[in-house]
Amino acid sequence: MDYCYIGIDLGSTTTKAVFLDEQERVLGRGITNSRSNYELACQVAREEAEINARFGLLRKKLEASPRIGALAEPLMAVLSCNYALAQHLEQLKALRAECHGLAAAHGFEAGETGRINQALGRIFDALDQQAQADFFPGSAAASDFFRDLATSHYLKQAEQVTRELPVSFDRLVGLFDAAIIRVENHSFAGLYRQYLEFATGRASADERFAPFAAEIGAAVTDTAERRFNVLNTVGTGYGRLTLPFAREQIRSEILCHGLGAHYMFPQTRTVLDIGGQDTKAIQVDEHGIVTGFQMNDRCAAGCGRYLGYIADEMNIGVHELGPLALQSTKPVKINSTCTVFAGAELRELMSLGQKREDILAGLHRAIILRAMSLLARSGGVQPEFTFTGGVARNQAVTRALEDLVFENYGRMKINISADSIFTGAVGGALFAKRDPKGVMADLEIKKLNTCGGAPAGQPAPCAA
């Protein structure tokens, strides 16, 4: 039995879970962007983290194998991307079914329903094909959210299809918007083994790994059955109060981000976290304990959701914003980070002939300008400086941050972990481990289980 501590960060746009072992090493990470139901989001993120933890164990097992050893790295890449592909295809299947179902339920006149179904068929066939191209070992697609990938591909295909068939683009977008929310609220946990079989099958078909198919199969089966005994869980983030956690199992995300950043980069003294609906500037001491912080007030301008809104306005996926902005040669000066005004400002600038990439570069800089003011208010930027939160994944944002930190505080290395989005959850898991009150009482385990999906009264495994 493997013991673990869990941190769950219930953010406004994504929910993250991290498993730590008893030596405070990360076992697994999971994330979901299901946002309409925190309980489900919490469950999905935990399941994802548990699967990730199992993949970690699998990697160790394969690395330790005298026969496979050196091949473990490429083999894990093949297994992971095919697992993600199987997951993606399953979600596409569900999305396709939801779209057809919604079209049927809507009651369009018969001819139109037929044309819509025909259009949906073409779109989803193309999406299935596209998925095979998107997921390959080491591809970025595996770390993107289903929503983001599906949105950008669907919109492109819908544009194409409406040129060929007499179907309204808006109708197709409307169906997608309604369907994607339903899909995000599905739990696909039961399909875990199916995905794993798919991935193992693909790996075994690869001539490099075929000779070891039996050993790979055994290792996968062994780790797939592994259970984790949860010693304590701490919840943080905006949704923390909506879950049935006991009071001592809840920590503010400010403390969690401070401790999580310290864990990732122990010399950290200043942390900037840009999340979905708030921006925080945090100062920490040499132990990762927060000594001061500032966060945006009731106006959430310039936070992660702002970028989501801009992406919607531009009809592109949120993950495409950064790369596009980086192509800019002449950033436009943007004054407002108000989400409501942004749409109007965007359209006005486009109509004036400004390039999309230049506008986007300006928007990214505006976000960081606002963050700089919070940093200054919190006591400035002290080395080392760590940038966390979902927005830290956006390279145009980090570029703007580097420039502005340099302008205001001189040359400074900015720590950005590839796993920065998990910083709060890592902090939560560390608090779970270091809780002075020790391991939870029975009663609290029961409460926790009602959120994790296991029936009350049983021990707290993260059963897949």
């Binding site: 503010s252 403390l255 001491d285 927060v290 912080f293 500032q294 966060m295 009731r298 002075p436």
Partner: protein, 423 residues
């Protein structure tokens, strides 16, 4: 949870006093009484009462409208008339209330003013506020120019300048409006009574130094300042109120009791905090609850000193009425420069053995808010204690984001806990 709101005996006494005052105001015209509108900081209550006039405090009306959830509508009414979203919400609340019939808390309309008396002009918004009221009421307005304590102290010439205005400008106007000559003996009597009540109030403030603290010097404190900052300073009822309050506090000290919150006694006092800045009135209970739920007691505050820094030694002096009133106007908390405010808060943090301090930055009130972050940094440096910073508003419910404020405060309390565990 106890659903019935818990109240202290002194609160009941105060409620009665206020009720009687509003009744007097409702009858003012019938009784032939003259009415003076004036502000709380630097108010000249003894002088007004010496002319047998009745004071009305528009700020108090605004905060009461806030607590009674009426301010949102009043503010929108004022905005309909063209006042911008950025204008002080006390002003807009008052203008909106006026436009909607100027109904006081008893449901009766408040009498129109016979005089607008601006006795503290350190807040420029006060002046503009009364200019707006002057247009509405077309009554005389008199103002006292109060020099700012730019060097952090009151000089003899500042005192003389202010006292001379009192004698040469204010008194003649008050005599003219009231139709009465100033009764100096009566003024001295009122000032002597004020000083006695002030002694008791200081005793109450300083009780916050006890562990557990028998008072909440901020949320409870805003009730404690009610009588002495408004229409009652100088009258026997006010003295009686503070005597009763002092006895209440003594009882709690003797029994090791904490202050009364709306949900009962605050028994577990985990953290002691000093507060700078006015409270939010529209969500006052909700705001308070964030603190008492976490076992946080506010041991001292600056907002409760806007109507007099009695704990720093000032007393109304019956022997020297004009100089004492001048000094009172000059000594307003917001008339002190930033270093003097920092010094005061630093003293509070040390004297009251606080674990930390909180700044509530008010969107509407630049008199309080300008410079607050610099003050906070300086205090952190001087005391080594952590400061919290939140943002809200006086009476505009649109500027109270409960989730955001709760998030910041909970983070702050957890930060104090982490610091304590690490120490």
């Amino acid at each position: 949870m106890n659903t019935e709101v818990q109240k202290e005996q002194s609160m009941v006494i105060q409620k009665k006093m206020l009720g009687e005052h509003y009744e007097k105001l409702a009858r003012a015209r019938k009784d032939g009484k003259k009415v003076v509108y004036t502000f709380v900081p630097g108010n000249l209550n003894e002088l007004i009462l010496a002319f047998d006039m009745l004071p009305v405090h528009p700020e108090v009306n605004a905060l009461q409208s806030g607590m009674r959830k009426l301010s949102g509508d009043y503010i929108q009414e004022a905005e309909k008339l063209g006042h911008s979203e950025d204008v002080c919400t006390y002003v807009k609340c008052d203008i909106g209330m006026l436009k909607k019939g100027n109904l006081g808390p008893t449901g009766e309309p408040l009498p129109e003013p016979d005089l607008l008396l601006l006795s503290y002009t350190g807040c420029f918004t006060f002046m503009k506020w009364f200019e707006l009221l002057k247009q509405e009421y077309n009554c005389p307005m008199v103002m006292l120019q109060v020099p700012y304590q730019g060097d952090g102290r009151i000089t003899p010439s500042m005192r003389e300048y202010t006292a001379r205005q009192l004698r040469e400008v204010l008194v003649p106007v008050l005599e003219q409006v009231s139709g009465k000559k100033l009764d100096e003996a009566r003024l001295a009597e009122l000032l002597a009574s004020s000083a006695r009540a002030e002694d008791d109030l200081v005793y109450v403030w300083e009780s916050g130094k006890h562990r557990p603290s028998p008072i909440d010097g901020y949320f409870g404190g805003v009730y404690y300042i009610g009588p002495i900052f408004t229409a009652f300073r100088g009258v026997p009822g006010c003295e009686a109120y503070y005597r009763a309050l002092r006895q209440e506090v003594d009882f709690r000290i003797a029994h090791g009791m904490g202050p009364t919150t709306p949900e009962g006694e605050l028994r577990q006092q985990k953290y002691r905090v000093v507060v700078e800045g006015p409270p939010n009135w529209t969500s006052f209970r909700e705001f308070w609850k964030i603190f008492y739920d976490e076992g946080v007691v506010m041991v001292a505050s600056t907002y409760t000193k806007v109507g007099g820094l009695y704990d720093k030694g000032f007393r109304h002096d019956p022997q020297d009425p004009f100089n004492t009133l001048a000094e009172y106007c000059l000594g307003c908390y917001t008339n002190r420069n930033l270093p003097a405010r920092v010094d005061l808060i630093e003293q509070y943090i040390r004297d009251y053995d606080a674990d930390g301090f909180l700044f509530n930055s008010i969107k509407s009130c630049n008199s309080f808010s300008a410079g607050q972050l610099m003050m906070l940094r300086e205090l952190e440096k001087r005391t080594g204690k952590a400061g919290a910073f939140i943002e809200s508003d006086l009476v505009d419910p649109r500027y109270f984001s409960a989730a955001n404020i709760k998030n910041r405060l909970e983070s702050y309390f957890q930060m104090l806990e982490a610091k304590r565990l690490a120490a």
